[in-house]
Structure formats: structure tokens, C-alpha cells
Symmetry: D2
Subunit: 135 residues, 4 copies
């Protein structure tokens, strides 16, 4: 059972993270230790080469993992990223939305570790692994 | 000798990466394989807990490494990040600017690897290592 | 179709990597872009705390990814690791073998990226992502 | 002031980590949050291509960070690696010893983060960043 609803997640962003709330995220699902977020992309998310920018991919991966963590432990807003590794796999443009599927690999008392796959359609465009510290 | 001036770097962002150009970056220096960028931060860069958000730190680290790479190889706009690892070390608020100091550890024909230290004042708030693919 | 058999993989290690050949690996399978290796562990693989040592986990993850890469591209011995990130998730002792399941996330002309899950029995004890450079 | 001597470090390895004790490490220094270790290398440390193997580099980086952590907090043997990222920068053979220089970037109550530079002579052959969990 998820301990956080999509509406609660968006409310947390609205109160505390204006840059994320401005993204108009579609929170497809938050489960106990997993989450799927979809980002509508446009030209503002591109980098030179008309490619989705790394920071956009990082942002969505980080938010998806944050949602997956809080789906497991509830609305602990002060859970914070302690590390994140991204591998950028394929270039993608701004024609289609970006989807992040996060799932936890470990949920400890102090640390949660998860991975995130980022897709445009069926194409895996990036992969991330990250750690959240649980206060 | 740097192969890219701060003005050329900002012009590349203006043409191809609107999200980065909107940051009002202060490009302190670009050398052959190193760069220092300063980001004026405000409430829009915070995450829950009134802490600088991970995506803001990623963005500045990625841009500083991009500048360091182009300082070494010239305005090769299509150099792209292939991987990035960030460790978040200390929380920081929005009271003072965020500074990224990037330097290359390796410059090969196909790959450049570098690290980036992110500071608020004298405090090291995050550290990144990343790889750029050179087309 | 795999482009490398388990026997060919072990022969490559025997000729060129004595430390790996000495491990008495059980090469369960090598497919086109995936591989499963099993390491019989004993007290020589422990670190303080009677826990499987990080270098043992790294070694098996790295070899499994190497096998997965050569399963896809054939016996290109000089494919080399360019980066690897490991997350250590659960402690494990030396009672049961360590199993690595590697699969490629991307196979480009110059770089292959993959991830590796390391298990003791059903327990996920570590997760790795890595990049191989293809000469 | 270091809280661990080189002799104490080697005694910890001798008791709890036979694979590391067998390396005949030269522990050049352990300070409060930094350490320098030198590994005499030979053919047993090579991978195909007559290049120092990734697991050897990982092993030395991990041990150097372990020494740096215990230099800061004392002989807490159960401090364990939670994550490690390595970038392999230049190939090196077995002609000269491998030297690891580790230093902490952060020492918290629960986590220590550090980086390690690995050299053969003056050449930087690999770079690592890692996190230790402090029990």
C-alpha cells in the first residue's frame, strides 16, 4: 500500500519546490517503493543539438525516486538525495513526453537506494541509481 | 590557452539551451580544461526543507564541466554528457551564490572525464564526476 | 545469439587475467547482451565483520558485464571498463555462492552500458552500473 | 591527528580481510581523513591487454578510503562501503607500483564521503568517489 497519494506528492512540491511544481508533472502512480512520473517536454528542456538536457533528465529521475521513497515511508519531506549516478544512453528530442519509472532496491532505516529508468516512448534514454537519506 | 571565451559559452547557451541561459550565470573563468561558474540562487532553486535542490546542483555541475570541456577542445556544442555521479555533502540554503569549479581529469579523443566541486562560500556542498562524449 | 561461449570466456580469462581465472567461476550463461556468473565464496572473500568484501563484489560485477558485452560483440578482449558505480545494499557472509546477472542497457559502436544485480540466494546484495569502451 | 596507525590498519586486514592482507601493501600514511597506500603490482593484477585490472584498482581505492575513514574516526572495523564510483582514465601495465591517495570530502555522524586518486608514477590512472557508512 502506498503511503503517499499523487495529490499529496504534488502538494509537497507546490509548497516546497517551485521549480518542480512548475513542470506540470503527470504523476501516473505512486506505490510502496515505486513511482511513475511523466513530464511534458518542450523547447525549454533542450540543450545544444536539440536534445533533452541532462538537468531535465536528472530532475525527473530525482523526483521519481523521491516519490518512490515517500510511497514507502510516507510524506517525509526531508528525505534528501545523498548521491545519484546517471547514465545517458540515447538522445531524444522534445517531440514526446519523458517518463520516469523508479523502484527501490533497498529500503533501510537510514538509507533508501533505488533505480530509475527514463523512457521516451519505448526507448530507454537514461538510467539512474540514487540514494536517499531518511531523517 | 582556453579555446572558448565566457561570452562564447553564454552565446551557445542562449542559442541552444534556454533553461541554462535563463539562470543568469556568472562565468568567472574558462581555461583549457577547467571552468568556474557562479549561480545566483533564490527561492526558485529550493526543495522541501528550504535547501538547494539537487537538480540545481546537477545543472550547475553539468554546465561547468561542459565549459571546461569546450575550454579544452573549442566550441564543440555537441559534446554531450554520457554519465554523471553526484554526491550531496552538505545542505545549503538560498542565502549565497552557488559556485562550481570544474577541471578535467582526462581529455581523450572520444571521452573527457572531469570532476566538479560545488561550493557555497567556503563550504563544499556537493561533488560530481562526469564524462563527456566528444563527437 | 551469443557471440561468445562460456568456454571461450574462461579461456580469455585463463590467458589474460589470472586473478579472475583463479576464482573458479561458474559461467551459467552468456547471451547477446547478458550473462550470469556464479562465484563460489569462502573466507578468503570476507572483509572485517565476516561480510563479503567490496572488491569481490566489484570483481564479479565487472566480469559479468565483460561477458555480457562480449556475448553481444564477440571476443573483443580489449573492451575495457571506463566507469563503474556500485551500491552495496545488504551484508552477506560466505555461506552461499554469489551470483551476478548482467544485462546491457545500451550497445553503441563505441560504448556499452549495462547493469548488474548481485544476489546471494534471492537477496539482492549489490547493484552496479558500468560502461565498457569498445575499441 | 590520525586515530589509526599504519600498523593497526594492517592488523585489521590481517585479522578480517585475508585478500587484502595478501597484497603486501605499503601503507605510506594515514592522517585524520586521508591516507596513501602503495600496491606492488605484478602479472597477477593484469587483465586482457596486459593492463592493470579494474578489480585491483577498486580494491586499492576502497582500502585507501577505509584507511582515511578510520584515520578520522578510529578503528571502527565495521565501517562499510555503501557506494563507490570509479572512472578508469588511462591504461597502465605492471611495471610500476600503484598508489592511491584518499581524502574525505565529508565526515558526518553516519556517512563519510571521500575521493581517491590512483596513480602510476605521475599518471592519474583512475579516480574514485565513495561513501562509507559509520555504524
Amino acid at each position: 500500500m502506498s503511503k503517499l497519494t499523487p495529490a499529496e506528492f504534488l502538494a509537497i512540491l507546490e509548497r516546497g519546490m517551485p521549480s518542480a511544481h512548475a513542470l506540470n508533472l503527470d504523476v501516473r502512480s505512486i506505490e510502496h517503493g515505486s513511482a511513475t512520473l511523466v513530464l511534458p517536454v518542450d523547447a525549454s528542456h533542450l540543450r545544444p543539438g536539440a536534445t533533452l538536457a541532462g538537468p531535465t533528465l536528472f530532475m525527473l529521475a530525482d523526483l521519481a525516486l523521491y516519490a518512490a521513497v515517500m510511497g514507502a515511508i510516507g510524506p517525509v519531506e526531508n528525505a534528501v538525495t545523498t548521491s545519484m549516478t546517471l547514465n545517458f544512453l540515447r538522445r531524444a528530442g522534445a517531440e514526446a513526453p519523458l517518463r520516469a519509472e523508479a523502484k527501490l532496491l533497498k529500503l533501510g532505516r537510514r538509507l533508501a537506494v533505488g533505480d530509475v529508468s527514463l523512457y521516451v516512448g519505448d526507448a530507454l534514454v537514461a538510467h539512474a541509481t540514487g540514494t536517499y537519506s531518511i531523517p
